[in-house]
Amino acid sequence: MARKNECIAMLLAGGQGSRLGILTHKIAKPAVPFGGKYRIIDFPLSNCVNSGIYTVGVLTQYQPLELNDYVGNGEPWDLDRTDGGVHILSPYQQIQGTDWYKGTANAIYQNIHFIDKYDPEYVVVLSGDHIYKMDYADMLAFHKNQEAACTIAMREVEWKEASRFGLMLVNDDSTISEFEEKPENPRSNKASMGIYIFTWSKLREYLIADENDPASSNDFGHNVIPAMHEAGEKMVAYQFDGYWRDVGTIESLWEANMDILSPVSGINLNDPHWKIYARSPSAAPQFISDKAEVGNSMVTEGCSVEGKVDFSVLFPNATVEEGANVKYSIIMPGAVVKKGAVVQYAIVAENAVIEENAKVGAGPDVTDPDDWGVAVIGENITIGKGAVVPPSVMVNENVEEGTKYESK
């Protein structure tokens, strides 16, 4: 038996993130690089530590190798603890057989014994695809104060976007009267952020009931939360007004990266009181040559910039050669943009190479706005000399010198 923890966190990191396309072919979504030196999972993990939660279970299933490697013993987040710390929880064989995690609720259900070991009063359930800084301790205080069975973090979204979210009808006393899952005609603009705090004794009960229901899809949003609500448990909404972004799509991932370049977006990563921790490679300081022009951008260790970089985020060991022009783009670790190449409105994944004078992506002004989108170059892909990659495509095969990429 471990020492009793008042509150522990369970981080759902098993999803494929299929909407991120080739970026998640080989890695789980939470391991996708973000913000110059981070990965998406750094945000919930750092939030946990900064909120005083030192026991975190990370539930992995899809392509866990890189994610497991990255989390490791938790040392970068101060989660290498004698008592608690970070634990990777993968599906495992049992006497009755082997079950993959069937849904988000089932993933927690299969790890009931892990949670019980810490005998917590409360469990925070988080997902690994959001960029935000949030003090879970405030939310927990709210949960306790309300004597709720379940508290759901909520934010008001634009009415025109509301139908994309799981919505809640909330009373004046913060209790939730009704849930609506992506309704066509929304009656509320209060969206669930996918951040939950449960009183563990209650959740435990409902997880077991849910598992015993063969009709259930074992999902928090679809099954467990509605079941608790129907049974009359106290469900409350905790309003969060700070920066929060779901980075489940290429566009939102790109936009969130652009947000960190903006002083008015509301996300400030340079906050000594709320650091975002990451496992960093040891690389030399960045070199900016006398031919370089760097503005409105983030550049990190190991980068070498000799060309023009504007409104872009460069990850460790990225190279932009002389005469190359990178704008509104995300250049992931080890990627190289060679002489004279132009990369705009693009995501260039790890170790991809854009050869001399190649052109990747285009601005929203030069093409039919309906066809426009961010271009994505996959990991280790080479775009040959002078080749052209149009906007809004995902390139997962090498593009020959001098050719124009046509998406299939």
Binding site: N270, Q286, I288
Partner: protein, 373 residues
């Protein structure tokens, strides 16, 4: 001999007095260098990259910042249950000479127990006032091939202006045939880089004998005195290597990192120089920033102009500010429209708005820690 049979010993503060400006608050080993490193990172990383698994760092005074930097040794993968990293502070022993050691020999003598307890057969000894990046295995192999008693790593060049520097005379087989100390030699020479390899038992013997005879100069009584009786050989250090003997050389060597080939030799991904992780954000370049020919660490905010300079972590260059030919250490803030040229700022220096400060590349001005100009 294999690297995992070599015990590393690093002197953290030989020559502290040579850059008094930078070492009033810290040992030479923890003097910041190259935007994100401290001098101790170089010998430590060279040792670890070669496969050395146990290192002792000998300290005497002012070692708080060094301990803070080293921590458990984790960045160098030396936070280990078996062996790993040891900081060896001065401690009181019944031996008078051990208590306040004055030089390398007395320092090693005071830490004889540490040496004795190590299972390793060989030692590699370094100082902390130089930067280099080469494969120590080549040094170890050379020592074995030569069947040497002592191998001295040396460099050909102008003799640093430091005390007890040894000029080596080498024969065609790289054997050291003569050592002259404190010689006034204006030209280029082969000089000891104060990196030594020998059997641990030999070191113990030589140190004990020196102490017994009250002649405890490493250069004179260990190396020079034994040129005939022991086989001492010289190993020329490949690649970029520089020893710091003054604030001026500190400045010059830092600036040499702006040359790509020097940077490639010293700070390459194949043999990384590890340092303490600081969890800074990437550096943010603002709308009107102009940076050129500069090395910049993470955590900086650049809204002004930076040219031919080295910026450490968390430096802020505000709008309209101009930084040229300068070294700005961690947390330096150059406020709006201030102009600085050829200056070195220690940690957390603030240059207020509209100031105009300049030294000369041949005589950079130094601003001490935490001051506001």
């Amino acid at each position: 001999m294999r690297a995992n049979n070599v015990l590393g010993i690093i002197h953290s503060q030989a020559f502290d007095s040579t850059i008094q400006e930078l070492t009033t608050m810290r040992t030479f080993a923890s003097v910041p260098f190259g935007c994100r490193y401290r001098f101790v990172d170089f010998p430590l990383s060279n040792m670890v990259n070669a496969g050395v698994t146990e290192v002792g760092i000998i300290t005497k005074e002012n070692y708080q910042s060094l301990m803070d930097h080293i921590g458990s040794g984790k960045p160098w993968d030396l936070a280990r249950k078996r062996e790993g990293l040891y900081i060896l502070p001065p401690y009181n022993t019944s031996s008078a000479s051990a208590a306040g050691y004055k030089n390398r020999v007395e320092a090693i003598y005071a830490n004889m127990d540490f040496l004795r307890h190590s299972r390793h057969e060989y030692v590699v000894i370094t100082d902390s006032n130089a930067v280099y990046n080469f494969d120590f295995n080549d040094l170890f192999e050379f020592h074995t091939e030569q069947e040497a008693d002592i191998t001295v790593a040396y460099k050909h060049g102008k003799l640093p202006k430091l005390e007890n520097m040894q000029i080596l005379t080498l024969d065609d087989n790289k054997r050291v045939t003569d050592v002259s100390i404190n010689a006034d030699e204006p030209g280029e020479v082969d000089y000891s880089f104060n990196i030594y390899v020998m059997r641990k038992s030999l070191l113990e013997y030589l140190v004990k004998t020196s102490v017994a005879h009250s002649s405890t100069s490493f250069a004179k009584d260990i190396i020079q005195a034994n040129v005939d009786s022991l086989k001492i050989v010289g190993f020329e250090i490949p690649g970029f290597a520089a020893m710091i003997d003054s604030l001026k050389t500190y400045y010059n060597v830092s600036m040499e990192l702006l040359e790509p080939e020097n940077r490639k030799a010293l700070l390459n991904a194949k043999n990384p120089i590890a340092t303490k992780i600081a969890d800074n954000v990437p550096t943010l370049y603002g709308e009107n920033s102009k940076a050129g020919n500069s090395l910049i660490a993470d955590g900086c905010t650049i809204e002004g102009t930076v040219e031919n300079s080295l910026l450490f972590r968390g430096v802020v260059v505000e709008k309209g500010a101009v930084v040229r030919n300068s070294i700005l250490m961690q947390g330096t803030v150059i406020h709006a429209n201030a102009k600085v040229d050829s200056i070195i700022t220690d940690k957390n220096v603030t240059i207020t708005a509209n100031r105009n400060l300049s030294g000369d590349p041949s005589y950079p001005i130094y601003f001490t820690k935490n001051i506001v100009v």
